[in-house]
Amino acid sequence: MQPLVKITALTKQFGHLTAVDHLSFSVEPASVYGFLGQNGAGKSTTIRMLTGLIMPSSGEIEIFGLSLAKHKKEILKQIGAVIEKPDVYQYLSAYDNLQLFARLSGIRPTRVSLMDQLAQVGLADRAKDKVAGFSQGMKQRLGIAIALVHQPQLIILDEPTNGLDPQGIADIRHLIIHLRTELKKTVIVSSHLLSEIEQVATQLLIIHKGKKVKEGNASELFDPAQTVVQLSTEQNETAWAVLQASSWQPYLQRITPEGIILKVDRRQIPALHQSLVHLQIPLISLQPRHSLEDYFLQVTTPGYVDTLSN
């Protein structure tokens, strides 16, 4: 299958600073491509190059099989983007903003379709209110309505959960899943909330200092067999002895003042929980510790040592 987005040796230099350094990756159609990196890693610069906001110093960007440098207008017709904050015109209403950006996207929507779009992001009852009075979450939802108003094939969301409350974050997560599974759209999403990316992304790219560190799907990047689990009981010493005598003995790592450390396959965690109940070990907490976040820190932080897994 031909990739929807193909990036080859993309480089951007600001003076002496190389923000993006020979970055190459590709995005499959109808996938959610998670873009991970610490602040300043080059995520936003890359996304801005994808949307034509920043000119690459070198390298190639192909979207829908066309070169962005040569076919920018045709490509942007099929892209909806929210770059960083969803800033819109504060002195206009939500409806006026949506209508204005719809026209700029090359469509002339009816009032009904615009209201329908606003209803989908829960802003129909605030359609005539000026955006100046909106909360960050409402602005984010309006930004997404603007990104989707022209039914693009590729949606680019740069840090879409920034500044949102837990409900807003969950809404964005559901929206991304809906876009991929129901509407068969392709989504590129960057975030520093790794747990969010982990839940929605089908492919992941980790960059650090402008360079690709890892690329693949979540299960490839994060070996489920390497999950480190910490369990805390009322009597850790007794629990340790009971587990030593059980079928979980091969998985035991060590005992610490905080609890017992095991290295298991993530899929074994429910069985572990059942065994603990069966062995009558009074459990206080059971926490999988080897998350994508640990992995991310491992691959991007020089000298990082995962103390739990050692």
């Binding site: 949307t51 906001l53 000119m55 920018k72 045709e74 960083e84 800033d87 204005l100 700029l104």
Partner: protein, 291 residues
């Protein structure tokens, strides 16, 4: 392009800031009209104090045409600031609001976007001048009536007959529109280099003040550059109120003493507008949107 232009004009006139200039002009002209209506006689007496001993003037000296000339002399120096308020905010304001990055992710060419914004800026400038004309010329004609226009120049006086004035004002306002468009083009260009509008507004005014001082300084060293400074030509509208005279020193109705000066000044201003626009397009094509 037409859609972009419509959207830009729509945005300009939905912003509260746009109306500051219209309100300021209305207020300033209102104050001048109020003052001259109440105390105009004394003002005329003061204006004519040096020549009343040698000539006698009859009729309504403080008529609408005279008041309009006074208003233009006072206001056209300050209108650039009002123009800069909007022109220097055109790109920097979008960058400051964060809307520039959203706009440029839409399928529009940067050149078309910039030209549409530039044209919208020119529309704003033109409408501001039209508003100035309505208040300064038409309203004053209604309030103060019409008569001959008597102008005191540095070494001579000009008397324009009532039926020979209106077309001169049309020309003067058209020329002023060109001069203000040059200011708008400069502000527009400077707005590309900042992410908030304060810097470009201050820079626009600073450049105009600096160049105006150079234009008015009578130092031989600067005389070589003066003809190329747009500020030298911005007062070209006054040429419309100089009339040709014959050998008997009689004014020739319907004439301008130095029409080529007007053409020359208009061409210099036009060249500056085109130059500022071309530089803007060139800069914007290569600009990375980091706001």
């Amino acid at each position: 392009m037409w859609t972009l232009f419509q959207i830009e004009v729509y945005k300009i006139f939905r912003r509260p800031r746009t109306y500051i200039a219209f309100a300021a002009i209305t207020g300033l002209i209102g104050i001048i009209q109020f003052g001259l209506k109440l105390d105009g006689a004394q003002y005329v007496e003061f204006m004519m104090r040096d020549i009343t001993s040698s000539i006698t003037i009859e009729g309504n000296i403080l008529n609408g045409y005279q008041v309009c000339y006074i208003v233009l002399q006072v206001l056209l120096v300050h209108v650039p600031l009002l123009i800069a308020l909007v022109a220097a905010d055109m790109i920097s304001g979008e960058a400051n609001m964060g809307t520039l990055r959203l706009l440029l992710t839409k399928p529009i060419s940067r050149d078309a976007f910039l030209v549409a914004k530039f044209m919208a800026t020119m529309v704003y400038t033109l409408l501001l001048l039209i508003w100035l004309a309505i208040l300064a010329l038409f309203l004053n004609m209604l309030i103060f009536g019409t008569d001959d226009l008597f102008l005191l120049k540095s070494s001579y006086v000009v008397l324009l007959r009532e039926n020979d004035i209106f077309w001169r004002y049309c020309g003067a306002f058209a020329f002023a529109a060109l001069a203000m468009s040059t200011v708008a083009a400069l502000g527009f260009l400077l707005s590309l280099f900042a992410n908030n509008s304060i810097g470009p507004i201050v820079a626009t005014m600073s450049i105009i003040v600096f160049l105006t001082i150079l234009s008015t300084l009578n130092i031989p060293l600067f005389s070589y550059v003066k003809p190329y400074l747009f500020t030298t030509h911005m007062i070209g509208w006054k040429e419309f109120f100089d009339i040709k005279v014959n050998a008997s020193n009689e004014a020739l109705s319907g004439t301008i003493q130095h029409p080529m000066r007007i053409v020359q000044s208009a061409l210099v201003l036009l060249a500056h507008i085109v130059l500022f626009l071309l530089i803007s397009i060139w800069v914007f094509r290569k600009k990375d949107i980091l706001s």
